[in-house]
């Protein structure tokens, strides 16, 4: 087996809440192979976004650690780029300026920068909107820009934090196929967080099902449906079924625990 590109080891995160300590994440172990597409699915509050922030280095774990190619991660870096839920595009820059941002920070020369920016704007099919401002774009277009802005940096791992949660159903499905297509072409190792079981089944080679407080992994499903996939492929439907079963069982279990508690 090839070495894991990304490794989470006994990873945990506690937040200091007003009254008690809040366990957002506890004892998460996960290995993600080079070029793999892994989805993390779970109800809100299960710590899946926290997990992504720890991998990105934007938050510091209170237990365990994150490894990239065998090296522990300290702080944020352009090798692990996040696509945020609302895109987090910069409204004072146009599309081109947003895609160019990370390359400027990295000090890439102007000619090379321009060429790469053009290439990636074309890849998300926004050539006509290179000089549009962020407020002139639709929700789906914004997430295309966010994708281009992340991929142009050629990250080792692409981290996506419920990127399509705010989109309407049709746009969401369209964006899922855009992501799938980009991944098939670039082969970028991807960690994709969502609360949508169907989305996780369409996209993931492996589906990590997480459950409630303290956030922990309850199952990892393999999903070998051939690509490109759609929501109606039998193997995808099967993966959806299996994920739902696990999530339902977890809810029933935690409800019974609540009844037992004094």
């Amino acid at each position: 087996m090839t070495g894991a590109a990304l490794k989470l080891v006994m990873l945990g995160k506690q937040f200091e809440a007003k009254v008690e300590r809040l366990n957002a994440l506890r004892d998460v172990n996960l290995e993600i192979r080079e070029g793999e597409f892994v989805t993390i699915v779970g109800p809100s509050g299960c710590g899946k976004s926290t997990l992504l922030m720890l991998v990105a280095g934007l938050q510091v774990p209170t237990a365990g650690w994150v490894e990239m190619d065998g090296q522990p991660v300290h702080g944020p870096g352009a090798d692990r780029v996040v696509v945020f839920q609302d895109g987090a595009l910069f409204p004072w820059l146009d599309v081109q300026g947003n895609v160019e941002f990370g390359l400027r920070v990295a000090g890439v020369r102007r000619a090379k920068r321009a060429q790469r920016v053009r290439e990636f704007i074309k890849m998300v099919q926004l050539e006509k909107f290179a000089h549009a401002r962020v407020h002139e774009l639709s929700g789906g277009m914004k997430q295309r820009v966010a994708l281009a802005r992340a991929l142009v940096l050629r990250p080792r791992v692409l981290l996506m934090d419920e990127p399509f949660a705010a989109l309407d159903v049709h746009t969401r499905e369209e964006m899922q196929s855009v992501v799938q297509d980009l991944w098939l072409r670039s082969g970028t190792t991807t960690l994709f967080v969502t609360h949508d079981v169907r989305e996780s089944a369409v996209l993931g080679d492996r589906i990590v099902v997480m459950t409630h407080r303290p956030g922990t992994v309850s199952a990892i499903l393999e999903n070998h449906a051939p690509r490109p996939r759609t929501l109606n492929d039998p193997e995808v439907l099967d993966a959806i079924q299996r994920s739902n079963d696990i999530l339902k069982a977890e809810v029933e279990w935690s409800n019974s625990q609540a009844k037992l508690a004094p």
Binding site: P76, F90, W92, R104, A132, H135, E136
Partner: protein, 265 residues
Amino acid sequence: MMRRREHSLAWEFRHLIPMVAIALAALTLWQAMVSLRVWPPYLFAGPTEAVRALVELWNRALLPRAIVATLQRLAVGFLISLVLGALLAFIMVRFTTFGKALQPYILGLQTFPSIAWVPLALIWFGFSETTLLFVTIIGSVFGVSISFADALRTVPPVYLQAARNMGSDGMDLILRVTVPAALPHLISAAKVGWAFAWRSLIGAEIIFASVGIGFLLNIRATVPDIGGVMGVMLVILVIGIVVDQLAFSKIQEWASRRRGLLAHR
């Protein structure tokens, strides 16, 4: 993609029509009070008398010299105040705990009447340009730093996260993200600062100066020349409006429209 339509000059300035109407109404009211002889002419001059006095002051080169001197002081003082205020604001935002502890004192200094600095400044710097500059700066720098700090705090954390995530940090992060993200608020903050600086300077010039608008106003009162006094007051008002409308409002509108905070006309 939306493109702004080109408009005729008349359309561009159409918002000026009600403004001009209000100015004319005020002038009419002013003239009416004079014509009705509510107060004797040596206590209350009409617009024609004020303008006549201004023309005379202009012809004697007193008015242009005063305006140039005052605006020069204002430009230098206000610029220094912006730089110092930005530094102070940056320290307050960067070092959160220290900044919070410092804030009430700076707020206190902001409300401190700038004229009350004049005696101290006179002892330190004598009857000099330095004194006038000092009062202009000290009268505005605290207001500037408080407003700048507030502006910097409006930056949504997700922008900073996204930028750090793409490898930006330190000075790079401040210049590439914090400042542009806060720009519309920073411009409002500068506007607040300019008003503070303007008031402080005119106040100080009234107390002492050898040339300047405040000085001219004071001299006209000792003549006494009621037309000159009211005329110079009018000049102070007009400069305030012009700077606000031509400089700050335009810059603010531009910055807001660029990021879609204003509806397209």
